[in-house]
Structure formats: structure tokens, C-alpha cells
């Protein structure tokens, strides 16, 4: 049908054609599918030698915790990391995309990536989607021009700050930062403050929980401290263990050997030109 071809998006970007259909279905009683959100507390601060990023590890799907230990601190470049809050798919996709773009850019220029490059790539992508890509990010890194920390909002606006918090737990974490942050913190003081801010989000915000991830970035070095703190251990594990009913009895054990290993001999025929 010619009308079908007309409505196919010629340029890139979202096509909102199915929105009317979805509305009609919802009116008829179909519940819309929920998406995985990272309720989240994410923070970043600048200390004397670089930046420290922190995040909680809870991913929620409505009122249910879908992932108790997800990774919210995403790799962008060896010297740049990015925490993401909002829709988990959006933060993953946008940070992966910009990370690849940065790698290509590094090959092209032969230089270490700069934080402002990542910032501009992220903000122009988010702005062009007018806030529909629900990714709120805390971007931090150290490059030749020094340590940088930025926040990026879903609509594409950015702020440059010495300390920043984002996500549903941002108010709890910001309270900690506003009372205890000062310039020129040492590494240990900085990590302690970041962990405290994330814990504040974990314990006071329903959308954040589980463990604390920390990432310390300094000139020429970064330490990704996955599960730096585990303040929510599973306290009681039943000693009896779990017993399964007879229905799961083993009926048959059959071992099928795989084919024999094939050995590759080096110095075979050279490839033809």
C-alpha cells in the first residue's frame, strides 16, 4: 500500500505512529508493559587528584526489584566513566554508543579522549530526542586539561559542578554532600564521603538499594571498586537448604561425546593473494 510506504521514517529518529494504537488498546483495558528503571542514587565529586563516582546497584521494574546488583557506572574511555539514572535501556544504549564513538575518535586523532568530547556527544544526542531518551547521567573523568565532572539531563542540558547527585535518591545524597563536601579532599576522604552519600540514598530512597559501587579516576589511572560496600547482606540463610519433591527425580543420564578435537597445525599453506 502506498500509504504504508509514506509513513515509513525516511530519516532516523522515533516514529510515533503506534502511539494512537497503544492508547486505544489501553482504553480497552490492556495494561502497558513496564520497563526497567534504575530508581537510583548516583553521585560524583572532584577531589584533589581527580574525580570519584559512586552509584547504588538496584534496578526496579515498577515496585519490584528486578536486579539486586546491577552496574550503573559505565565505561566510556580509559579515563572517563559515566553513571546513569533513568530507564536502564536508555542509559546503557547511550553510554555504549558514545563510548564507541569516543574510541573511533581516539583512533582518528591519536590522542586520549577528553571529557568535554563525551559531554558534547551525549548532550547533542539527548537534545535531538527532546527528552524521550530518559537518561540522566553523571559524567566524570581526568584528561590533559584536568579533572572534570558534569551532569547531563534527559532534555540535553548540562551543568559543570564540583559535586553532583542524580536519580531518585539525589536529594538524600545531596544533603550529605552539602554538609560535608569541601575542596581538596584526599582520596580516602573522598571515597568515604561518596560511600556515605550513596548509603544515604540506599537507606532513605525506595528506588535505591543493595550495594555501593565506587570508581576513582586520577591522572593516568582508574580504580573501579565494584561492590565497594555491601550494607545489605542476606542475613538469614536456612541451614536445611531446599529440598525438591520426588517429581524432579532423574530418569535418564545420557552422555553424548562431542566430536574429536581438531588440531590446527601452524605453518600451513599461506593465503593466496
Amino acid at each position: 500500500m502506498s500509504r504504508f510506504e509514506e509513513s515509513a521514517p525516511a530519516r532516523g529518529g522515533f516514529s510515533f505512529d503506534l502511539c494512537k494504537r497503544n492508547e486505544m488498546l489501553m482504553q480497552k483495558g490492556l495494561k502497558p508493559s513496564s520497563y526497567l528503571k534504575t530508581g537510583t542514587t548516583i553521585v560524583g565529586l572532584v577531589f584533589q587528584d581527580g574525580v570519584i563516582l559512586g552509584a547504588d546497584t538496584r534496578a526496579t521494574e515498577g515496585p519490584i526489584v528486578a536486579d539486586k546488583n546491577c552496574e550503573k557506572i559505565h565505561y566510556m574511555a580509559p579515563n572517563i566513566y559515566c553513571c546513569g539514572a533513568g530507564t536502564a535501556a536508555d542509559t546503557e544504549a547511550v553510554t555504549d554508543m558514545v563510548s564507541s564513538q569516543l574510541k573511533l575518535h581516539r583512533f582518528h586523532t591519536g590522542r586520549e579522549s577528553r571529557v568535554v568530547t563525551a559531554l558534547t556527544l551525549l548532550k547533542s544526542h539527548l537534545f535531538s530526542y527532546q527528552g524521550h531518551v530518559s537518561a540522566a547521567l553523571v559524567l566524570g573523568g581526568v584528561d590533559v586539561t584536568g579533572p572534570h565532572l558534569h551532569t547531563i539531563y534527559p532534555h540535553g542540558s548540562t551543568d559543570t559542578l564540583p559535586f553532583a547527585t542524580m536519580g531518585s535518591g539525589s536529594l538524600a545524597a545531596m544533603a550529605i554532600f552539602e554538609s560535608k563536601y569541601r575542596e581538596g579532599l584526599t582520596r580516602d576522604e573522598g571515597v568515604k564521603l561518596v560511600a556515605e552519600a550513596i548509603c544515604s540514598g540506599i537507606f532513605n530512597d525506595l528506588g535505591s538499594g543493595s550495594n555501593v559501587d565506587v570508581c576513582v579516576i586520577t591522572k593516568g589511572n582508574r580504580e573501579y571498586l565494584r561492590n565497594y560496600m555491601l550494607p545489605n547482606p542476606r542475613t538469614y540463610v536456612s541451614e536445611k537448604g531446599y529440598s525438591f519433591s520426588k517429581k524432579t527425580e532423574v530418569l535418564l543420564t545420557k552422555i553424548t561425546p562431542l566430536r574429536e578435537l581438531v588440531e590446527v597445525i601452524e605453518g600451513g599453506d599461506a593465503m593466496e593473494e
Binding site: 548532550k123 547533542s124 537534545f127 527532546q130 527528552g131 530518559s134 551532569t151 539531563y153 534527559p154 532534555h155 540535553g156 542540558s157 548540562t158 551543568d159 559542578l161 536519580g167 531518585s168 539525589s170 536529594l171
Partner: protein, 236 residues
């Protein structure tokens, strides 16, 4: 209708008070520093006065994202224009570029701007570019949500041919007044003075701003009660 609850998914907007004032020899631009997301202050120390060229600056209000992207585009166009022209761009050209982008995308953008600068042809000039994309050259102009509280003030106090000192003091006084009355404005006051000698940035922290309307220092506050002796019971 705005929800009273924290809507952290609300677009980042700059409630704002922005001011641009000409004086004898140049211009003074002033702004507050509050960026809000719904009812939460996302950045209490933002810089709303952005550089377009060496001699032209722009005050941004409204949607943070829209105004940032617009300034980035105009900075890029002006850079190209300066290269092609071979000399610094005039304030009029900068303001017109801002107006072109603002007007041609009026359906999508939500940002009010003030362009101010100094060039050797016209001297110090201020241009106001409000929401629809009009361009208005004015001796002074105010913008943002806090400006509502300043119209009467400026009608009373404005005069032509002020000195640089008078103009700076006027701008700081005006922004402080607006911060006192407008919930969406706050933080610190930033000013940028542009004249033939160049650009100078000034910063006024919130606690140094003049108090208004007979605001007194906190006394008889509840906090005093904890350290002071307990009060005498009232005798009727």
C-alpha cells in the same frame, strides 16, 4: 498545573532573573544562579551568562537545554562569520543570529535571551530576544521569571549615561531584589561588564547581597533557646 511534589523528571529550567543595562562606555549583564527541576534546585551556582565571542555575551533564561544548544549554535556561526569577515563580529550581527535561530524554531524552543556586548562601530548595545523570536534593541532590558518584580523598580531608577560603577551597582541591586521575591531565582549574582577595554566578570555570593525590606538578623530564634537559659514563665 505544577505539582507540588518533586518532579525530578521535569525539564531542567532556569526560573531566572536576567538583566542587561547600557552605560556610558559599555554594557553590564547580570543574572542569578539558580537552575530548577520542578521544585528542586538542580544547580545553585550555574552560570547563565555565556560567551558568544570575545566582545559579545548572552544571558539565558527558560529551558536550560534549549538555551545551551542555541548559544552553542550561535557561537559556532559567529566563529565562522568572524573568520569570513576578518574582524570581530558586531553585537547587532550576534543578536540577529540569535533571533534567526529563535524565530525559525519558535515552535520547539522555549527560551528568552538577552544579548549584550561592545563593538567599535556602535559602542555598548543591549538586545532583548524574548520567547517568540522578536529582536528589540533597548537601553536596558530584563528577562526571566524574576523580572516581573523589577519593572516598577527600573521605571523609577533608570537613567541614561550612568557610570560603570553606577550601572554595576544597579544590576546587583536589581537581581538581589528579584531573588528576594521570586522563588525560582536565587543563589549568587554574576555580572559581566563589557567595554572597549575588554570583559570583566564579577561574582557576588548570596550572603553579601544587601538585605531588603527591613530584614533583620535572626534573633529570638528557636536556635537561641537551646544554648540560652530557659525563659521565665509568663505572668498574666
Amino acid at each position: 498545573m505544577d505539582s507540588i511534589y518533586n518532579d525530578l523528571n521535569a525539564p531542567h529550567s532556569m526560573g531566572t532573573t536576567i538583566i542587561g543595562v547600557t552605560y556610558d562606555g559599555g554594557v553590564v549583564l547580570g543574572a542569578d544562579s539558580r537552575t530548577s527541576t520542578g521544585m528542586y534546585v538542580a544547580n545553585r551556582a550555574s552560570d547563565k551568562i555565556t560567551q558568544l565571542t570575545d566582545n559579545v555575551y548572552i544571558c539565558r533564561s527558560g529551558s536550560a537545554a534549549d538555551s545551551q544548544v542555541l548559544s552553542d549554535y550561535v557561537r559556532y556561526y559567529l566563529h565562522q562569520h568572524t573568520i569570513q569577515l576578518g574582524q570581530p563580529a558586531t553585537v547587532k550581527v550576534a543578536a540577529n543570529l540569535v533571533r534567526m535561530v529563535s524565530y525559525n524554531n519558535k515552535n520547539m524552543l522555549q527560551t528568552g535571551l538577552i544579548v549584550g556586548g561592545w563593538d567599535k562601530y556602535e559602542g555598548g548595545k543591549i538586545y532583548g530576544i524574548p520567547l517568540g523570536g522578536t529582536l528589540l534593541e533597548q537601553p536596558f532590558t530584563i528577562g526571566g521569571s524574576g523580572s516581573s518584580y523589577l519593572y516598577g523598580f527600573f521605571d523609577q531608577v533608570w537613567k541614561e549615561g550612568m557610570t560603570q560603577d553606577e550601572a554595576e551597582k544597579l544590576v546587583v541591586k536589581a537581581v538581589s531584589l528579584a531573588i528576594a521575591r521570586d522563588g525560582a531565582s536565587g543563589g549568587v549574582v554574576r555580572t559581566v561588564t563589557i567595554n572597549k577595554d575588554g570583559v570583566s566578570r564579577k561574582f557576588f555570593p548570596g550572603n553579601t547581597l544587601p538585605l531588603w525590606h527591613e530584614e533583620l538578623e535572626a534573633k529570638d530564634s528557636l536556635l537561641d533557646g537551646f544554648s540560652a537559659a530557659s525563659p521565665e514563665p509568663m505572668v498574666s
